[in-house]
């Protein structure tokens, strides 16, 4: 493989991995902040225990998200230096402002939240988790604005004054209010809530069932903790699923205008149709990326409706679009060293059909599966019931993974769906003024394949090890459930309390003996 291909694998692996942590951080952070608020408002013990328990899971995951996020910021320079030069005027400032306005907020206030239990006044302490959650949301907005700018570049002009073509920013507000960014941000935020909701449902049901089989009381606080977790998680998941569908529809309709090839590839729609049919299943000749080799089972009219909200409008096919793009942007890459091995080669404007088609369906399918589990959880816990069905409860536990897979599939679809461009030409701009960039031009020219292999393998191995540890820790703390330390607001939020400690919990701030069990 050449540097370009290795670097793409590296970006894909590190980014998808990073995005396993991110939605859990965003979604669970918000839910923990709500739990904490409920505790401060009502003073009820179960809300405190929920805050402590879910807060611990949140933190184990948060730190890995932060750590793997570091790679992203360096990676643009390390492996994609020509991209960084081309887009620096707009892309870099969005990243820097994300760090300044979001990361400081997130990390500083999270530190205060962890160590501030019992040290700072109760309401101020509550404000720290909200500040951290707001920080996460701002961070998500900026990075999605940066990504959306690559999908749909606005607020820039092409500047060739220095000899090298560069994107030059002319309207910062346009970059931040890009309609692609608004849709993608909304979609990602509600999808994050599905991740968190699914986790609450899965772990909560497991504990409820275990307690019931052990004949434990259904009147005590711990029962309330798990029951409430399931109910909150179920409602959040279901509501988020509706919003995921609505925001996804919004984003999809935008994509039909901004990147029609991505959407037609997602449907394996080869020829322009009016009205267009929606594909429910398709298979392709092995190894072929020719649209005409795809056999597809379709439902008429539906695709026109998804794309344009009516049952008759035409939807362009992959073959026509490929032709249009080849005419507009060239049938072959220019014979120029800056295109590396791709120089002079024909350009395939059609993304990898199998990935876009199945990525799109996997995303939707996993979301629907998770919503189904949420509905089951709410049904099976109605009016104080506790489900004991092994299949139901363990199925729900397994389904915790579904929204994670859905999120990853969505990103793989959206990123691979815009190939061969790294900055997609904005169709609203006249051809001569368009700012666009091929992925083949973006890679760093000076680095060797050995270097990128080295980093790809080291990061992949490291990430694999960390994933095993993270999942192990989450499983361990999830199984252990509520611990003695969760009953009082003591500093720190580690879970390493002694279970044999039977002293009555002390409500005052001077629970000093417990402190070391949490703090460093």
């Amino acid at each position: 493989m050449d540097v370009l291909e290795i670097a793409r694998w590296q970006f894909g692996i590190t980014t998808v991995y990073h995005f396993l942590m991110v939605p859990l951080t965003i979604g669970l952070g918000l839910l923990v902040a709500v739990m904490h608020t409920m505790w401060v408002r009502t003073g009820r013990a179960e809300w405190l225990r929920m805050t402590r328990f879910w807060g611990r899971i949140f933190l184990i995951n948060f730190v890995l998200g932060v750590a793997t996020g570091l790679v992203q910021e360096f990676q643009f320079g390390l492996a994609w230096s020509e991209y960084s030069r081309f887009v620096g005027d707009v892309f870099g400032s969005v990243l820097a402002l994300e760090a300044l306005l979001a990361f400081f907020l997130e990390s500083t206030f999270l530190g205060l939240w962890i160590f501030g239990w019992g040290r700072i006044p109760k309401k101020l302490h509550l404000a720290t988790i909200w500040a951290a959650v707001v920080g996460s949301a701002i961070s998500a907005y900026f990075i999605i604005a940066a990504n959306s700018w690559m999908q749909h570049p606005v607020g820039v002009v092409l500047d060739t004054s220095s000899g090298e073509p560069r994107a030059r920013q002319v309207d910062f507000v346009a970059v931040l209010t890009n309609n692609t960014a608004l849709a993608a941000f909304s979609h990602a935020m509600v999808a994050s809530l599905m991740v968190a909701g699914g986790l609450l449902v899965g772990i909560g049901l497991w504990h409820l069932r275990k307690r019931k089989l052990a004949d434990k009381s259904t009147e005590d606080v711990d029962h309330a903790v798990w029951r409430r977790s399931v109910r909150v998680g179920g409602y959040v998941s279901l509501a988020a699923f509706v919003l995921v569908a609505l925001t996804g529809d919004w984003q999809g309709k935008l994509m039909y205008q901004q990147q029609p090839l991505k959407m037609s590839s997602a449907e394996a729609l080869c020829e322009t149709e009016a009205p267009a049919s929606f594909s429910i299943f398709a298979f392709n000749k092995l190894g072929s990326n020719e649209c005409d080799d795809v056999h597809s089972f379709t439902i008429p009219y539906i695709l026109s409706f998804l794309a344009h909200s009516d049952f008759s409008s035409p939807v362009p096919g992959v073959n026509q679009l490929q032709e249009e793009y080849a005419q507009a942007y060239g049938a072959t890459y220019p014979d120029d060293p800056s295109y590396g091995d791709k120089a002079g080669q024909p350009i395939d404007y059609t993304p990898v059909l199998a990935v876009t088609y199945w990525g799109f369906r996997l995303m939707i399918g996993m979301g629907a599966l998770s919503a189904g589990v949420a509905a089951y959880a709410l049904w099976s816990t109605r009016k104080g019931r506790v489900p004991t069905s092994r299949i139901g409860v363990y199925g729900s536990l397994l389904a915790v993974g579904a929204p994670f897979v859905g999120n990853a599939a969505g990103w793989v679809f959206t990123e691979m769906g815009r190939q061969p461009f790294v900055v997609y030409p904005n169709p609203d701009v006249p051809r001569a003024d368009q700012v666009y960039f091929f992925t083949a031009q973006a890679v760093s020219p000076g680095i060797t394949a050995t270097e990128v292999w080295t980093s790809l393998i080291s990061l992949a191995v490291l990430y694999g090890v960390l994933a095993v540890i993270e999942v192990g820790l989450i499983v361990r703390f999830a199984r252990r459930g509520i611990t003695e330390g969760d009953t009082t607001p003591t500093p720190g939020i580690g879970g390493g309390t002694k279970d044999d400690d039977d002293r009555p919990p002390r409500a005052d701030d001077d629970a000093s003996d417990d402190v070391l069990q949490f703090a460093y």
């Binding site: 750590a67 820097a96 680095i447 000093s512 949490f518 460093y520």
Partner: protein
């Protein structure tokens, strides 16, 4: 001052701020096997930086982000030229970050000891690697036309890189010791102070050497003065430590870094990355920077955002200002 100069200063301040704040985190972590004789000592040491390290690390993220945002030509030349060192730094930072949070998720002593070693190793790698990167970007990297590295993967691993690595590591270790002596009580406090006092003069040498080399090549009178200030602050640090005034010693040792970095960045300006191949390939502030429009936007946003950030970060330091002891800590409400 034009916008490009302003942003060069901003980037220099961010990198220096990172070295200053994360420096003592690196130092405390690096000293765990030296000063932390008992598990209780090591716990105490880690508690001094526990609530602070993550916020401090954001200074690095912001420094890199600002380098990219204001000078993409610098960012896109510097990082790929030192590809492997930067990857090493990332690995170090990742394992260190997860170790901070994951180590106390078990009461198993071996688990704790293993993660403690990871914190130390990761900190060493990250501090050394970033020092190497900063040394190289101010003393020279083999970059040719178009900012592309000449030579193979290891052509950037040169003596300036080594000097930068040793400078940051040595400085951080003493910085961490002074910080510990300021933040702890009891035996650990005395051990930390004795360590700092013994090693401060020697540990400052590589840093002063780095600043001196940059100054000898590019410097003038103002950076000459800052260099002398840096050297003077080393003596002052030693004297204040000897007098048992840890807070003043911490300030003086901070001045060593601030004055050294002022010398380095002040002297090298307007070059941001000298080429060892040919001065014609030097990366300059003017060629590397973004448009005035973007710099203006960032200046406005940072102008409003930065004071707020500095305000709440200072507040965190205030909340966690107490000296820590190995005794169970008594909660304070401030």
């Amino acid at each position: 001052m034009d916008l490009q100069t302003l942003w060069f200063v901003a980037v220099a301040v961010l990198w220096t701020g990172f070295l200053l704040l994360e420096g003592f985190d690196f130092g405390v972590a690096g000293l765990l096997p030296v000063l932390g004789r008992e598990p209780a000592d090591r716990k105490l040491m880690l508690r001094t930086i526990g609530p602070l390290w993550d916020g401090n690390e954001v200074w690095l993220v912001t420094a890199v982000g600002a380098t990219f945002a204001a000078f993409p030509g610098w960012y896109a030349t510097w990082l790929p030229a030192m590809y492997l060192p930067f990857v090493l730094v990332l690995v170090g930072l990742i394992v260190r970050a997860v170790a901070f949070e994951w180590r106390h998720s078990s009461h198993d002593e071996r688990w704790d000891a293993a993660w403690t070693r990871v914190i130390t190793t990761g900190s060493f790698i990250a501090a050394g690697g970033l020092g190497a990167a900063l040394g190289a970007t101010t003393l020279g990297l083999p970059v040719g036309e178009g900012g592309i590295r000449v030579g193979g993967a290891f052509s950037g691993w040169s003596w300036p890189a080594l000097l930068g690595a040793v400078a940051v590591l040595a400085y951080s270790l003493v910085h961490g010791a002074v910080f510990l002596s300021m933040k702890t009580e009891g035996e650990l406090r005395h051990r930390a102070r004795a360590f700092a006092q013994r090693w401060a003069p020697l540990a400052a040498l590589p840093l002063l050497g780095w600043a001196g080399l940059v100054w000898a090549r590019y410097g003038g009178l103002p950076t000459g003065i800052t260099l002398v200030v840096a050297a003077g602050a080393v003596v002052l640090t030693w004297a204040r430590l000897a007098a048992g005034r840890e807070g003043q010693a911490f300030t003086a040792w901070a001045v060593v870094l601030l004055a050294s970095m002022a010398t380095v960045f002040g002297a090298v300006f307007p070059v941001v990355l000298p080429s060892t191949i040919d001065p014609a390939f030097d990366v300059l502030v003017t060629g590397a920077s973004v448009s005035d429009y973007t710099l203006t936007v960032m200046t406005w946003v940072a102008g409003f955002g930065l004071p707020v950030v500095l305000g709440y970060q200072a507040w965190t330091y205030w909340v966690f200002r107490k000296r820590l002891t190995a005794e169970p800590e008594h909660a304070t409400v401030s």
